[in-house]
Amino acid sequence: MVEFKNITYNYSSKSGIYNIDLNIQDDEFCFLVGPTGSGKSTLLKLLYFDLFPDKGEVNVLGYSSSKIKNKDIHRARKKIGVIFQDYKLLKQRTVYENIALPLHINGVGRKKISNLVNEALELTELSHYSKKFPNQLSGGEQQRVCIARAIVKNPDMILADEPTGNLDPTTGHRILRILEQINKEGTCVIMATHNYKLIAEKSYRVIELDQGRMVSE
């Protein structure tokens, strides 16, 4: 499903990721860990084709970084749900409208949208917030909206970039539980975090990065 073949990406001479070789399976749950600036977000950005490697090749869900054309990137992204640390929600839209957005993009009919959004709201325990606007919600609630938006289209893969970064430990655990539940249903989840405490009690695969290099797996 995901294959990194000797990937190098340079922001400058001192930062980037270097010579990464990696394989992640279809239904895996794995953590990308490392301190700030270790290259976790870069690795995720390479996965949803926000960045392209300077060297090597990334293969994701049948799309190759060396072959994909600009006009086809959206096709790959339709299969990927991305969760951002800063949520990236539309402030002028309600929770319901934010979650429904990927379904509108995919051309889903209005009735089906309503059913799928309600399912996602239930899973993320946001049913009572559907008519609220993001700025009326707490950080944890906004992060759950972001998760609901990522899962509503039933993606093949969820990429979560520091989803618990701004949250208290209890809310962090709650978010992790939701992601675990999604993974149990067969969706690959790759979660970048520098919260070692959160992952300590879990037995999932951990890929550790430091200064752009993979140091342990």
Binding site: N70, H74, K79, F84, H104, G107
Partner: protein, 285 residues
């Protein structure tokens, strides 16, 4: 698919209503440019009418020698009528000439002099559709050579001058149209860029959620279409009613093209869509 189209249309409409300032600026830009364009179009349209008016008035008069009689002059008419640049020839005999003299000067020439010294003449009208000043001048120089011709009176040179000036006006009008179209494209394109950079977060979120460039562009196109229609429609109403008022106030007969609204809105739409596409191409790679 219908749900997707409805969603995109609603998005375009919502964003049109939400971004009041940028849309207002864009509509004002279109309104100013199309008011100028519409005014010049009416001027251009009437210049064409003016040229046709001059051409319809363009006649020349052949004064015949004293010795030419009626039969000879009829033969001359037959000979000239076959020329394609001539539409009609009217014979003004000596009596008619005296009547014209009486009309213009209030004196009867026969009473004054005891005889009629006025020559017979042929008033030649020209075909408007085959109007070619060079051909006409060539024809006049040929007619001048005939021995039955005393003199020819024509004002071709003056009309030629007026037509030159009209053509110069049309040339500047075309340059102005091109300049206004170019300025409109630049201004609308910059407004769209501004609008897009104001909504860069929205565009980014759409992209991360798998939206194609076309999906992102359509609401902006809808916005541009609304701006173009509103701007051009107001400009048309302004120009149209201004000329109606001018016509009635100054008692003029300035013609307004029946399809002025159609070409103004059409051109505005073409410019709006082209300018938006140009702006979006640079932002959405």
């Amino acid at each position: 698919m219908i749900d997707k189209i409805a969603f995109l249309f609603t998005e375009g409409l919502k964003s049109f209503l939400r971004n009041k300032l940028t849309n207002f600026l864009c509509i004002i830009t279109i309104l100013i440019n199309f008011t100028i364009l519409g005014t010049f179009f009416i001027a251009g349209f009437n210049t064409d009418n003016l040229t046709n008016f001059f051409r319809s008035k363009y006649t020349f008069e052949i004064f015949l020698q004293e010795k030419v009689d009626l039969d000879q002059s009829n033969a001359v008419i037959k000979q000239l009528e076959s020329n394609p640049v001539i539409s009609s020839i009217v014979l003004i005999d000596k009596d008619k000439s005296a009547d014209i003299f009486l009309e213009e000067f209030g004196e009867d020439v026969v009473d004054m002099l005891g005889y009629n010294p006025l020559p017979m003449s042929l008033k030649v009208s020209l075909e408007k559709s085959n109007f070619d000043l060079n051909k006409i001048e060539l024809l006049i120089s040929e007619i001048e050579k005939y021995d039955f011709v005393d003199s020819i009176e024509y004002r071709g040179v003056y009309i030629d001058n007026i037509e030159d000036k009209i053509n110069l006006f049309i040339f500047f009008f075309l340059i102005l149209v091109i300049a206004i179209v170019f300025i409109s494209i630049q201004m609308i394109s910059n407004t769209v860029k501004l609008s897009m950079s104001n909504r860069s977060d929205f565009i980014e979120i759409l992209q991360y959620n798998g939206a194609s460039n076309m999906f992102i562009k359509i609401p902006f196109f809808i916005e541009s279409i609304l701006q173009s229609i509103i701007g051009a429609l107001i400009a048309f109403l302004l120009v149209n009613y201004s000329f109606i008022v001018i016509n009635s106030y100054f008692n003029l007969n300035i013609q307004i093209d029946n399809f002025l609204w159609a070409w103004m809105i059409g051109l505005s739409l073409i410019i709006g869509i082209y300018a938006s596409n140009k702006a979006m191409k640079r932002i959405l790679l």
